[in-house]
Symmetry: D2
Subunit: 364 residues, 4 copies
């Protein structure tokens, strides 16, 4: 962290900044006094400093953060790829993990038909979503949770595949675990909802974390840090945290209205470079259009995504939720071609830019 004092700031003002950083965060500083300007550099891990507070001190012009605030999710602090073991499945690193299934469970028949179609298409993990966070209360929000979880278990039973389901309401957590949900998903609308993140940080179960449609990279990785850090409310370490976090990119809101969200392809290699966590991407929710899903899926894999999650529905024209972005028989080709592209590029590695990020104890 570098603190730039305003032109003409006094030595006393600089001292006050240095003292504050020492007293509040236990960190030491060095300063450079130029002709009429003073710059202060913080030594050590400055990731914990709240720059808003420092920028309020008299004489401070700008506070420039150099290390990120999402330490646990950052490759700077964990250079090796995280690989998550889920039974025989490995998620992260050089693996490609494909997740598919219906956007929502609607009926037992629709769910089981879709599950079989997804399995036949070659997916690794099955979507079994029972609770839906919808924009309007008039939209379909899913079956009763217990009934839905029962069908989710049946989908698992029928296919032998691990299953993922989105947890929205904390009060359903126990039922989710009892029903054998293998991966818990945190959706875009709850991705900054801290009570949910804190509760899941107490578990070891893998969590797929989407980002909010209005969140940037920093906020997304900070949400991951909520899951991983094991800090309590007062900022003190209280438990181990949940290391099994999988990031899922799904595009952000931008002014272009011809696509549902703007899935910035540069984010795929960038997130891989910045974070050691497994990264997958969702071509259904980002494009919002079945006709685009296949090519967007290939784009994500070619850009370095370690997996995909997309909607597969046995009968999308009867779907109660987001049918227009689900694929059916195309799923098989999407899965097999994605694996071919991944194999073609897998020797290439990902630019991790470690020299840029890795800072030792003298850094800031």
């Amino acid at each position: 962290m570098i603190i730039h004092m305003v032109e003409g700031a006094s030595g006393d003002e600089a001292e006050r900044v240095i003292d504050r950083i020492k007293s509040d965060y236990g960190l030491f500083c060095e300063s450079i006094v130029g002709t009429g300007s003073i710059v202060i550099g913080v030594k050590g891990i400055a990731g914990v400093i709240d720059e808003g507070r420092i920028s309020e001190l008299p004489g401070v012009d700008r506070v420039i953060r150099i290390t990120e605030k999402f330490k646990d999710a950052s490759r700077s602090f964990h250079p090796e790829d995280t690989v998550i073991d889920l039974g025989n499945l490995k998620i992260g690193g050089k693996n490609l993990t494909i997740i598919g299934g219906p956007c929502a469970i609607e009926t037992e028949k629709q769910a089981l038909d879709s599950a079989r179609l997804a399995k036949d298409s070659g997916v690794d993990v099955l979507r079994t979503f029972v609770d839906k966070s919808r924009t309007s209360p008039y939209d379909y929000r899913g079956l009763e949770i217990e009934k839905g979880l029962e069908i989710a278990s049946a989908m698992r039973q029928e296919t032998g595949l691990p299953i993922v389901s989105e947890l929205i309401d904390l009060r359903h957590l126990e039922a989710f675990l009892k029903a054998g949900i293998d991966i818990i998903q945190v959706g875009a609308r709850s991705s900054q909802y801290s009570p949910l993140l804190e509760e899941l940080s107490l578990l070891n179960v893998p969590v797929i974390l989407k980002h909010g449609m209005g969140n940037d990279l920093n906020e997304w990785l900070c949400a991951a840090a909520y899951l991983m850090s094991g800090l309590d409310r007062s900022g003190k370490p209280s438990h181990r945290g949940n290391p099994n976090v999988i990031l899922c990119y799904r595009g952000i809101r931008a002014f272009e209205s011809a696509t549902r969200f703007s899935a910035d392809i540069s984010m795929i290699p960038l997130v891989r470079m910045k974070s050691h966590l497994p990264l997958i991407a969702d071509p259904s929710h980002s494009s919002g259009d079945r006709k685009l899903v296949e090519r967007v899926a290939y784009g994500f894999v070619a850009a370095g995504a370690g997996g995909l999650e997309f909607d597969i529905h046995s009968n999308p024209e009867e779907a109660l939720c987001d049918g227009s972005q689900a694929v059916t028989h195309e799923a098989e080709r999407i899965v097999s071609t994605s694996r071919q592209i991944h194999a073609l590029l897998n020797g290439y590695g990902v630019e991790t830019g470690v020299s840029l990020e890795l800072m030792g104890t003298g850094g800031s």
Copy 2:
């Protein structure tokens, strides 16, 4: 709702659409058959139709929604301004309601000093925020809830003003109500978190609803509809809903990085036109810079906002949270000048555009 069939769609395909709308929603349609194209118009209140489902039917090109999906919050269905009574205070309609206080309660002294400053500045309602939803787990998240609520009560006691506090974790709801919180705020990060909205829809306590930084007008008013509609999970009316919703505009994410958020001034008269709910705006969180707060506040009031909510801190340079957007002694001038601008313009009314919105039973 208008459904445009693709060029060359058959009469049978049009019939199927009409049948589906009748069977699923109990609504009737009329169709117009042009040279090679068919257009179907839905009669009656089509707000409940899920257009995604209809757009999946064979032969459908586009589904065009004419009425909004946020019925309860819409001026179309409730042409008169909603005015909320809170003791002697009236919020909404031609009233101007000013809310101020620290961004977060940090210590008893800071809280009481700030409360007195806010009261002396002339605010109507006091901010007493005990729980903070922060981007990073390393940031200050507030005191222990019980201790915080105790101080909030003391602030209320000290000033005699009604108090507002943000509820993040549902498990704190009872304690909030016991502590005498007069208005519950739903923040940007939880504004689409349905379990919270559903729980608050069971109460009668006024709720200030912010919008997410990545949400548009439709999503914001749909979140209000979650609070107001009293629908259960299956979409059936189950209770009265909470009619006491106050909208608070705080700007959205846009590419301009020189301001914290983009607070589109056109949204102020537009939201007043579209919704009957009281509308206030937050010049601290939208601008993110104390030096901008005063003028932004005047802009909001002149554009038709029915109130303001902003950060007042007795000692911002020691603030633990967002000190850089809090005002101190400037608060008094902001309050009094805002009231002058409001008085100057109050005879003017707001364009409600009723002719555009008000649709009878034959509309769609």
Copy 3:
């Protein structure tokens, strides 16, 4: 085009709309009268109607455009892919065209070194940019135009490759053509500058058209229509137009600041679906970071782009312009791997969604 009248609009108001459309555009309408609402459908090619004018007529609620306003660039009116012949090179359709070279010509040595590197890397067309549109007047704007064009010709001579250069100032057009520039590029900052588009519409030379960083798909394809339509200022056809337009996607402005622009991967298959024009994409300018260029390039190709344009510089650390997004020795691998991915997927075709778009004379 569908015109929805407000609830309670009179038959006379509807008649006036129908008359206006007939008198101003020579088009006929049909209307459907519902219980309390009237909907008017325009028959024939309504792409030329200015909806702003119609929406001003009394009693009109909404005007809903169904066909696009970029007729000449639209696949609806030209279902087959446009393929442009440039010597032995074919651009568009199933071909992959790779363009590379320095962001700007700085010195003869830098230009020729970079040209040789680009040729050795396997590019099809050479970037030879002599005029630079820069944000600040303090930034490097290129050599004198004549000197620059001389070097551009030398690059062409040296490599035997066709060359592309951006035309900013109309007064340089003649010199560009004399210097043997094979393809003229229209950059993001001039992509809506109509005098330039109009002048280039008089030629036959291929034009690469980028979109402005604040433009959406409709505006981009309308800019293409300026190049192609051959309409004069009064809207009357006056010449043939330039059919040889190549679209180049480079990402838009969005709130994410971790990448330079947001290159929405869904736009690649969507533009292919909407337009018959060749589509290439620029991984250097969209990502803004050399470390991301390779993977972004693969993403674009896998998503269906018909080509790439990116910066190759023999010595980027001495570059005067955008050196941080230029690649050097990596270029060869990028070119060859892009060709492999393209070959793997080339049998797949692109979803052209013709049924959605193709509207006959009865459409609207």
Copy 4:
């Protein structure tokens, strides 16, 4: 400017950076060597350094700009408000300048009727736009330029008011000046088109500069610097530059589709703080809806805008261009109430934040 070297960068690498800055820009540096990291501070006016070039040098991690690149437009270099004299009119400083008139000249009758209406409403300057930059070639682009300019002169004659008109095509410049256009406007679509800015920098005639809908504050003020700096293509001072620049804010593209553009109200006081140039705002083009124009105008004035420019049309329902955002009889109330709000607030001054911005020769 501060240059942060990567962890472990060598002293030689730091030397190379310092040498480069001296040789290329004639500026001196000081460096601070911490435990394992080196920070370099540039002394003197670093605004001219191209940070992209420096960031390419080996061992450089980040280059952090402290002064802006739009020196001529910046309050740091010109603390006093610029006030432009136009006959009896003063634009800038504590003055409020209101500009109104039709979006485009369509016929002599429409133009003169609208001019009289604008004058009767109390505007200071008349809009007389003869050339229109439109999204689609099928839209109305204005009369023949000569005919249009003739009518513009007649509007000036009829009302005695100074007139403003947008110059798009450089080849019309002479005709504009001959026709007595008092102020030349540069529109959103040409605001980064450097040949136009360079040509206008040779004149003394006041220029209203809009920003592109995809441009941020830095780019806007850099466009102003193009007009003001008098640098030639090689970056050397060649003439005086045009000091008479008026900024006009009109909102940017954002994801909210309910308003035409997002006019961030915080930008009004921020631009006043950052720049000494007169700032006006356009409530017609930002909101895009006549029903919103009045309140948006009041918002801009209350937030500190030094003027307004909006569309006044005698008969908007027949308008050929943007009729839906033009006001008629409401104009009078908008003008008079804006003047009342301005008078109420004019004593308040604008926060210029000079301490933040003003940097002497020792700054960077």
